[in-house]
């Protein structure tokens, strides 16, 4: 702040280089400087970035868990499929006809019908 101030009269005419106006307070304004301002912004950006990275990493962690669970599901589905195939094989007529016990059996015929 220098002394070269313009005085501005109520009519708006400058009489001096320093400008004065009625009803105004004067004095040094204290606050954050330009550097601090940028620093705070940078820090906020950094924090947001860290949160983003942390969330991203966390999400990726879930991806690995999902992948493992999906693998387990696939494995169980294959096992279920194999068991269904095994059950079908064991209960098939082709299997029964090759069974030693079944081969030695005689064909059943109805003995009669009650009317």
């Amino acid at each position: 702040m220098g002394n070269n101030q313009t005085f501005t009269s109520r009519r708006g005419v400058n009489s001096e280089t320093t400008s004065w106006a009625r009803g105004r307070n004067f004095g040094k304004r204290k606050g954050t400087g330009r550097f601090s301002y940028y620093f705070v912004i940078a820090m906020l950006v950094l924090v947001v970035g860290l949160i983003y990275v942390a969330q991203g990493t966390k999400a990726t962690g879930y991806d690995y868990q999902i992948s493992e669970i999906e693998e387990q599901i696939n494995e169980l589905e294959i096992k279920k499929e194999d068991l269904a195939v095994e059950q079908a094989r064991l209960t098939s007529l082709a299997s029964a006809s090759n069974n030693k016990v079944a081969v030695s059996m005689e064909d059943a015929t109805p003995s009669g019908y009650a009317e």
Partner: protein, 581 residues
Amino acid sequence: MERKRVGFLKFCLFAAIFTIVARLFYIQIIQHDFYVAKASDEHVHENVIEAVRGKIYAMDGNEIVPIVLNETVYTVIFDPMIVNEEKSKEIFEKYAKDNLVAEWDDVFADKNRRYYVVAKGVKYEDAKKIVDELIEENVVGITFDKKTKRVYPEGQMASGLLGFVNEDGDGQYGVEGSFDKELSGIDGSLKAVRDVNGVVLSIGDENIETPAVDGEDVVLTIDRNIQTKVEKILNDYIEKTPATNASAIVMDPRTGEVLAMANVPTYDPAKYSEVEDARLFKNYVVDEPYEAASVCKTFTFTTAIDLGVMNANTTYYNEGSMMVDGLTFQNAYQGLRGTITMQQAFDYSLNTGSATALKLISGGEFNEVGRARLYDHLIKFGLGQATNIELYEEPGFIPKPNEYDWTMNFTYANMTFGQGMNLTMVQIASAVSGIINNGEYYQPTILAGKMQNGKFIKNEREKNTKQIVSVSTSEQMREMLWGTRSSKRNNGVDKPGYFIGGKTGTGQVVQADGSYSEASGEGEMIGSYIGFGGRDGELPEYFIMTKLWGKGQYLGGGEANQAFDDISNYLIDYLKIRPKV
């Protein structure tokens, strides 16, 4: 001097910064799309999610049982350059010896060959053990390619009906071929960012998943017990007669449902690639029209009765042969000369009898009106055209009544006993089923329904019936067909208390020169039989058609009749049909 140096350094610095900025501008702005695509190629992978092929079920009485399923197997591929020969050999010999498809010496003979299929069809459990051991032994360079294989727990049962699935996953022949669209489903896709291990990551906005739609599970009307038994009986007749082939169809005439559709010899659909004769893939019941001979007299007599010009007691004079359009045909049986009834003509399968029926249809003489009437009835019976069963079928052929200028009466006289028109077994079976079922014809079907989430959804068919003859005609034809089997009843083949009817057919075969095979006992003949059975006094519960043939072999309706007898007696027990006391 110093100012100059500083100036020079400043220039260099600005030049360097400018170069970097310019380069960055070029890479990030001008070449933006190129590098984005390149990065995307690195991280984003698109995979096909294969739809699971639908299973095929059949009936076991009232129970639904699987007859075609899927199994996950692996094809093992070696990179001989980096695979440890000794360790890998030892592991694979231990767990997948039966699946090896290559000789070890061949696999490692050329180490520059980076791709060698070593094993196929390795089951999951074995593959898992192999992988565990490979990891433990630190063996690398082996790829396991996951595949789905069709499994047939009933072995060769109904192979001609079911068809198979080829290496490309396409259904071929039979049910697999005709239901391929329903069974295949629709493949899905997964486009996603993956890490180095291939794990799908949820980062990025390029992940797109289109889920696969699995194929439908199809339930057939085929009863596996009846199918197995029919195939066994047909195989027995191939062993004890000169026949090399045999086919049969068993239907429920009250619904049109096919209970068995058999063709023997059969083949193993799991080893279809080993089949040398492609004719084994044919389903002769639906895709082989033939001249079915005297079984077709059933259609002629039905037409005459339905038009009110004949009944079983109508008489005519049998001369043993007949001349039409200047051409003569004869009866196979030369006895029974003189005035006889139509029932006798039917019993002895006299060609003059069925030709006389056509004369009656024509109003006394062979003419175009009679031909048109017979033709209209044959078409109404669904003959010479696709039945619309859910399988690939040949339509066959029936000459139109005014197709040729001369000898058309002779052609039609021949058609009355099954010559000159080509029909498939399924057409004949459906038509006769309709005739004996009070005239109510059901479109034949092999589709009982579908399985959805473990529940059976019945196949609801619309407009699948039509009245092809009157109830009275149906009753009379049942009696005529019953009459022809009197010898079977007298010999005790047919059990008392059951109403069983049928008709033989011994068909000559058209030779390469267009002439018919010898009608004597030495020429090539095809034996056929149509028949039905059920409780006496009630509508028939089953219909059976059998056919036996062999290249150059004589097979008469008699052999086919015996095969019918065996199937019929089995069905009476299996279906628990009570006799009328």
